[in-house]
């Protein structure tokens, strides 16, 4: 699915990611964890080719990223969205069908039915006609998951989807992601909260600028591993 060779990314003189090499399998739910500032978001953005990298090769489905963009659904942290935009919920989901439509083709009956189905899957059908800003944070996150579903992608990348949302939305989202995994899709999720990491994910990528560990969730959630990653942010551990 994703194979990454020696990925290094810097912001000016600051090295955000240093020599990451790994490859993921098909049909896995993979969590990307690590302390704040460990380069988790940078990692996912550089997979999408949205930021320049110093060195390294990334191939997805055995091809360069720019050739397979339409097979990837990316749900960023939605700080870049204009919440006052004159668009309602179901038309936001419909945007997910645009990559496959390409230029000069308009969404028809098939696309609209798909958007409605995706909205229903995240439990937001009654909100279809609402303006996008008139939803709670959890509902907005579910709308963007529905839009990703409408992209009918093979690889899903989500950046901190559970930040600041309600418990019900979190449960719905993880349920949908597990179903995608069961259908053989690969799902990569940036996640900051360790407590549920083992419960949610099959595999974990533990980052702190370098790749510290990558394996099944049980293997990675080892105190030693976590200590190494979180050392700087848990000074009380040093004292013990």
């Amino acid at each position: 699915m994703i194979s990454i060779q020696d990925l290094t990314v810097s912001y000016g003189n600051y090295k955000a990611l240093d020599g990451i090499t790994l490859s993921t399998g098909k049909g896995r739910l993979v969590g990307v964890i690590g302390p704040n500032g460990s380069g988790k978001s940078t990692f996912i953005k550089s997979i999408m080719g949205l930021i320049p990298r110093d060195q390294g090769h990334i191939r997805i489905f055995d091809k360069p990223v720019r050739k397979v963009r339409k097979r990837i659904a990316y749900v960023p942290q939605h700080t870049g969205v204009d919440w006052d935009f004159p668009i309602n919920v179901v038309n936001t989901v419909l945007l997910g069908t645009y990559p496959r439509l390409g230029y000069f083709r308009w969404p028809g009956r098939k696309e609209k039915a798909l958007a409605a189905a995706c909205l229903e899957e995240v439990g937001l059908k009654p909100y279809a006609k609402r303006q996008i800003g008139a939803l709670s944070g959890g509902q907005q996150q579910r709308v963007f998951l529905a839009r990703a579903l409408a992209q009918q992608a093979d690889l899903f990348l989500l950046d901190e989807p559970f930040v600041g949302i309600d418990v019900g939305s979190e449960a719905t989202i993880i349920e949908v992601l597990k179903r995608l995994r069961d259908e053989g899709k690969t799902v990569l999720i940036v996640h900051h909260d360790l407590s549920r990491a083992a419960e949610y994910f099959d595999d974990l990528i533990l980052l702190n600028k370098k790749l510290l560990a990558y394996g099944t969730a049980e293997e990675v959630i080892e105190p030693d591993q976590l200590f190494q990653a979180y050392e700087s942010q848990l000074p009380f551990l040093n004292a013990s």
Partner: protein, 311 residues
């Protein structure tokens, strides 16, 4: 001149008809393109690019080529220049806009003086609907067709890149190219609007009808339709006053658009400022009523009890 006489003039005189045609065309294209300018937060950028075409117009006259080429070249150069200054230094976007466009405009003012053409700086700056030529009309029609067709063909891509630029980039849309393409459309619209509103005030015809429409709807298609309608109403009012009272058409158009904006801003059903204030007032009087109700009930109960007690 009454409106009826004016309509009679439209039927009778060719030059009034040309003015009418140009007004409607400009109202529509400014209204529609303006929606994207407003939603992308490019009002200041629109102002800059429209002013920056002036030296291009002057050079076109000096070289005796169609002003269209010079204007598009200057407008695009200014948009690229603004982006270049911002990306390659710590200077922020608004300053970068101020630096580039004033320099272009100043150069334009000097060049026009030396172009020694029949071109009047005043007409270029503030519009003159009474002097619309056949060639202007065809240019406006051509530009209008190109702009509206482009917006229609790339509607999907414009919506995605405006609403969620990260998603647009992630699925491979050339977001930078889309931005500069919009800037080119903006210079085209400015050229088309020169005769009607003039370059100084064209930005208001881009911003005001679209903003007025934005206050009224949550659907982009309706917003574009309303915006085009408000644009046309404004230009028609401008046309009427510039013919009847010999006023500068640009200034009248802007004030007409502003009047529409003010009306909607205060009176729009459900979200106008006045409407909201009345709603707030009613809610607070309702809570006051509900606060007083228990005591009224209490008094009523007392009365009833009193009645019961009395034999």
């Amino acid at each position: 001149m009454t409106v009826l006489e004016f309509i009679n003039d439209i039927i009778q005189y060719d030059f009034v008809r040309k003015g009418l045609f140009a007004s409607i065309m400009v109202g529509v294209i400014c209204g529609v393109l303006g929606c994207f300018i407003v939603l992308r937060g490019l009002a200041l950028m629109g102002d800059a690019v429209s002013h920056a075409i002036v030296p291009g117009v002057a050079i076109s006259f000096i070289l005796s080529i169609n002003i269209f080429y010079g204007a598009v070249a200057a407008g695009t150069l200014a948009a690229l220049g603004i982006g270049y200054v911002k990306q390659n230094s710590r200077i922020k976007l608004d300053s970068s806009i101020g630096i580039v466009f004033t320099a272009f405009l100043a150069l334009g003012v000097l060049l026009i003086r030396h172009a020694k053409s029949g071109l009047k700086l005043d007409n270029l700056m503030f519009g003159s609907l009474t002097s619309v030529q056949s060639s202007d009309m065809w240019l406006t029609l051509g530009i209008g067709t190109v702009v509206l067709l482009t917006l229609l063909l790339f509607y999907k891509e414009l919506v995605v890149s405006t609403f969620d630029p990260i998603m647009a980039a992630a699925y491979g849309l050339p977001t930078g190219l889309i931005h500069y393409a919009l800037m080119v459309l903006l210079t085209l619209v400015t050229v088309a609007s020169m005769q009607t509103v003039g370059v100084i005030l064209v930005v208001s015809l881009l911003i005001m009808p679209a903003s007025t429409a934005y206050l009224l709807t949550n659907r982009l298609s309706i917003m574009m339709l309303l915006s085009a309608t408000f644009g046309v109403i404004s230009t028609l009012v401008g046309l009427y006053y510039s013919f009847s009272y010999d006023l500068q058409s640009g200034a009248v158009i802007v004030l007409a658009a502003f009047t529409l904006f003010v009306l909607v801003f205060f009176l729009a059903p459900g979200r106008g400022v006045l409407w909201l204030a009345v709603g707030k007032l009613m809610r607070s009087s309702q809570t006051r009523a509900s606060q007083t109700r228990p005591s009224t009930q209490h008094a009523a109960a007392k009365l009833i009890n009193h009645g019961d007690q009395s034999p």
